[in-house]
Symmetry: none
Subunit: 204 residues, 4 copies
DNA sequence: AATGAATGAGGATTCATTCAT
DNA sequence: TATGAATGAATCCTCATTCAT
């Protein structure tokens, strides 16, 4: 089995996966037929089944990839071990939601969330996609006593994730959302936390 | 001269609608067959079509009702014209997400969001479901100069809605979410806003 | 059971029958639902079944009536025992096909013919609808030796009926058919027959 | 690069079309279910939809073919540019109506006529199926001044078509129709026309 | 490796008819 | 007499998946 062939295989897989993602983003998992995907990626129906065991397998692959893409920047910031960098990475994620090129990704994400409600395997993937960032943020909070004393680190982490999720939803349905104003408001909130102005917080 | 009372008709409609909502919450709109709904509500297939023009019509009815249920408490609080009451109503909505009886409602909501991505009519309903509460909150913020001077009222309103949406998602996938801790954190945030401790805010 | 009631019954029956005929003419027997008829005649579904045993029964009633209406003028002319009158009655029938008010009747007739292909009971009714006029015309021909010697009376009768049927079809599909020109051509043919100008005919 | 030859595909299409024609002739378009056709042609339900967009598409294909079969002999005769040949072709068409093997074709034709009443696309096809032969015959009449002076060429053409249509109907309902006698009568009529014996006709 | 013809169960919806009121 | 809510089998069509080529 020559290496060229392996690269080709990977490229084919990618080609199919991207066509599928485009279809799923447009119409959701259950309103996209395999024929739709076949049409979109320009290969035969039979071939798709040599790369994926079936539709569910394809959905899983797409969900896994979707979360990986979001987890990466946060994980990188954590590895840098600089709290400011993590905050910056988070705000960048918020900002990226406003970029026009992100639309399909957001649409896909919402479909993933809905699928997680009913499919245990998808739910597990999505939960990991939430739990990993949450742990990263919670760890950071725990490392700063003036914050940790005032708030539940996990709850605060969930709050930041919730803000991300909610902005994502609102952006998906309404392209006129003022992303910059939203991010500025969140930024102020983050700064206030860092500055220790909350009731119960000791001044830092 | 109807031979069957209007109340009976309304009850039938409700019976069907609730069976449908239960099915949709469990399996999503497109993995729920009309047969599933028929089985769930115990009437014949044909009868469903005397009350709803089709599956899409039923989905629309359910989406409309879903948003109405959330809008009502906020609208009531706004009519009371008491800022504290509005904040309390909002926090109650967050708390209600943690009640065990709410599960199906949350699951249904996530399906609605996913459907809004691909169906213009549903998107319109969902946007109205977001825009109405947003206007209520933004108006409140505008009425308090010390807040309005520091933050974009719309952005802040979106932020609160985002928090609600995100908590809803996380609760749907993970029943172990600590709702009380989350709400406490949000409460602190709200109080800090009211207390005017944010950078840029004049002390109230 | 008072007489008034009987008249009412007949009126109801007529009301339903006419609504049904209008629907059938528009959409054919099998694309017209009982609900369509119910809507058209403004009574309830249940009531229709007190006047007709079912859809098939209604179709039969309509087919019977349809043929009766066409047979009547020919039978009247035959009873007058005047050959010229019969010819005139026939030409009048042709002319009536061109009248705008006849459209629905023609449409209905074509549906009847199609139904006669597959339903024995309807076929019997339709055959009688053809055989009766044919006998009338054939008898006339037989009574005129100079014609009967030259042509098969039955075949000639069938020919006249065929001409009627064909004109009916062409008129149904195409409202621009020149009815007057068609009738003039047939008239000339009839006169030629009467004048005995055919090969094999002795001069009258 | 089709893996299955084009001939095989065409054969499948024909297989399905012929099964459908048989069903439609037997039961009419709307009393024939897709399952009936599927049973008749021995392929799966899904496959039918790879060859036809739906039931209506199949009906259209059948109607088109039906008219083409009748138009062909007339068109061939016209191209031969011999009036006698055209007359012969017409009489042959009449004779073919009496052949036992033609039954299903006739039954199908009557269903087509009924469908033309309610479906614009079918009506267009049927009108073309009438207008083409009419033009052929009318052109012939126009080319013979002694005929054209006496009759409206279009009306005469319509008359011949009407005779064909009427004979078809009568044959469909009644297999005892004496086709030979009918054709002989029509033949005589044609000869008389050619001989110029009509009132208003100049002797040829 | 790649194709796409073929399958048949399952989808939403309609319909003639009945019967409690 | 009259209503119209209720039934459930039947209709047309789609879909994920397979396998001969």
């Amino acid at each position: 089995m020559p290496k060229v062939s392996e690269a080709r295989l990977a490229a084919r897989r990618r080609q199919i996966l991207e066509a599928a993602a485009a279809c799923f983003a447009r119409d959701g998992f259950h309103r996209t037929s395999m024929q739709d995907i076949v049409r979109e990626c320009g290969v035969s129906a039979g071939l798709v089944y040599r790369y994926f065991a079936g539709k569910d397998d394809m959905i899983e692959a797409i969900v896994t990839e979707w979360h990986e893409q979001r987890r990466a920047p946060l994980a990188a910031a954590r590895d840098a071990a600089d709290p400011d960098e993590l905050a910056a990475a988070y705000l960048d994620l918020l900002r990226s939601l406003g970029e026009p090129g992100a639309r399909d990704d957001l649409r896909l994400g919402v479909q993933v969330w809905a699928e997680a409600v009913r499919t245990p395997r998808i739910r597990d993937l999505v939960r990991r996609g939430v739990d990993d960032p949450r742990a990263i943020v919670a760890d950071l909070v725990r490392g700063r006593p003036e914050l940790a004393g005032a708030v539940d680190p996990d709850a605060l982490a969930r709050l930041f994730i919730a803000v991300y999720q909610g902005l994502m939803l609102q952006t998906v349905w309404d392209e006129t959302v003022d992303n910059a104003a939203f991010v500025r408001t969140v930024e102020m909130l983050v700064e206030a936390l860092t500055a220790g102005v909350y009731p119960g917080q000791a001044a830092s």
